[in-house]
Amino acid sequence: MTEADAGAWRRLDRRMLLIHPVQELPRAVPALLAAFVAGSGSGRGALWSAAALVITMLFAFSRWFTTRYRLTDDRVEVGTGLFQRRVRAVSRDRIRTVDVTARAMHRVLGLVRVDVGTGRSDREGGGAVRLDGLTAAEAAGLREQLLHSREQAPAATAGEPAPAEDPETELARLDPGWVRYTPFTLSGVVSVGVAVGFLANLASEAHFDPERSGPLRHLAHQLDRAPVALTAAALTLLWLVAVVVASTVGYALAFWDFRLTRHRGGTLHVSRGLITTRSVTIEERRLHGAEISEPLLLRMVAGARLIAIATGLRVGLGAERGGSLLVPPAARAEVLRVAGEVIGSSAPMTCPLTEHGPRARRRRHTRALGGWALLAAALAILHWAAGGPAWLLAAALVLLPVAAALAADRYRSLGHAIADTRLVVRSGSLVRRRCVVSAEGIIGWNVERSFFQRRAGLATLTATTAAGQQHYDVQDVELGEALRVAEELVPGLARPFLEVRASPEGRMQETRPPGTP
């Protein structure tokens, strides 16, 4: 696309007429089934479902005919809807990210889906604009215009090739060796679980009895004769192999050809994927930090992932799905290096952290053990008074040391620091996260104090931000230290509300008459 036709309404690519019906079909299955069942009573089931199918197809086609978009000097507008027309306009200076996804069918036809993220897209889908069905070249041009054209001189026309020098520098690329970290992520365990569940469900739906299947019965008899320990070992091995295979395949599917690059125009660019390709562009001005996330298993083998803390990227469950993943599970040292390059300073990623002290440690233990102890007590009462199951009580007691270990580890993780005008916080055990948020990304402070925290003189300081998880917490830190951190990072914001505890009458001194804002 050139600047000349900017401002004209454009349609999605014509090839979407092939994709829309396929996309629409699964959604229409219940309706089609209903039509078939309703129609079969009158003996015209086939006719009814054919009619329903035609309507579905027409509806799918209508999506292409009714969707238009245009790019004006200051806005991106997308019009959709057949009966209820809706035009969504996004101001171009609000655009923070461009996310280009191509699923298998899109790729065969050379098409992509473009999601344009604004600062608010992380909240209930408000503000995000989706263009499903541009050619790859159109999408690349659009991304260039939306995120890179602001800084560049207007003389550089989009049609001509860029100057010989590559505008992108590579920060990281997939190292095939990283695949050894995948068995230590949960994705493999989960996918094996899903597969087993699916198969079991299928078997029971189909009234498939393993006892009646020749090879399986043979296998079962073999197992019957083998010692229990051997059987357990074999099953564990089988399960491990399945997890390794599943996670490796998953890793390859998601992160094939992974590249993280920095564009001269001021953006970071992540591209990856084997069948479904994904390419996310983040405006660096909107990148307020990064998060190193180390799930317990991954941490044991010195692996980690890197996640961007940026506005305009969806957050919540599965940061990978939201496109904020900067480096997939990889060697920790490499992740730290990339993190340093991404945020432009390595100190926050490696600096030592201030511990939160014995009172914070005690709180970790009382919170972890208190819950378990209460549960165990309740189960004990249930067991002796009402004859509850003994094994539940035993399980609770056995898990008590695990809870203690977890608490100890949670305390070890806990820490904070200020490095290079950035807030660094670390917490968590099952997933340990070290989050680095730049001071200019912080737009407020919350100081939370529960009844027990007040008794211990502790507080939870929360930096609120428009990026990433929206809030980053310094858990169970001494109140004075919390306020020192807040004041040092954003000087002046909290100062009018601080007082030095030493003199009790200090509270009264600087009071101005009420109502003077």
Binding site: I443, N446, V447, T464, A466, Q470, H471, A494, T511, P517
Partner: protein
């Protein structure tokens, strides 16, 4: 170093408002339990009565203690650069947001709050985690505060997204 409380208290009427609101909440629970006790004929009448008694006791304590405690905690202040609020009772939270980062200022009056002539003011920033809400202001103060905040916020630009 510690945080001093914000300068202004909310309206004194808020004590009664919170008390009535809590009372209504507990009454709903008590009535539900009462109905269960009367209608369910499952031979656990004693257990039901005990649970009802416990609910009534906890509810009574809450209704008596909470409103005054809350009134002592709930405070607000608008400084030239920032808004500062404190809320809660057992679990207390102070929030500070720079005026320059304010995105919206809402004033809200629920049906019960209207009976007491009260209003809530909520200040949002670009962060989903940081809305500051001031509960139980009298209506005139709320209106003035909304005016002041909107005017002050308009004088600055940029929301740090």
């Amino acid at each position: 170093m510690s945080l001093r409380p914000p300068r202004h208290r909310v309206s004194r009427t808020a004590i009664r408002y919170w008390r009535v609101r809590a009372l209504i909440g507990w009454l709903v629970v008590v009535v539900a339990q009462l109905l269960w006790l009367l209608l369910a004929d499952d031979g656990h009448g004693g257990l039901h009565a005990a649970a009802l008694g416990a609910t009534a006791l906890v509810g009574l304590a809450h209704v008596i203690v909470m409103p005054q405690w809350r009134y002592n905690v709930h405070r607000w202040e608008m400084a030239p650069q920032a808004v500062y609020t404190r809320a809660g009772w057992l679990h207390q939270e102070s929030r500070i947001a720079p005026i320059s980062r304010i995105q919206t200022v809402d004033s809200e009056r629920g049906p019960l709050a209207q009976l007491f002539g009260l209003a809530d003011v909520t200040v949002t920033t670009a962060s989903a985690a940081g809305p500051l809400s001031i509960e139980g202001l009298d209506r005139a103060t709320a209106e003035r505060l909304v005016d002041d905040l909107t005017t002050a916020a308009q004088a600055t630009r940029g929301d740090a997204t």
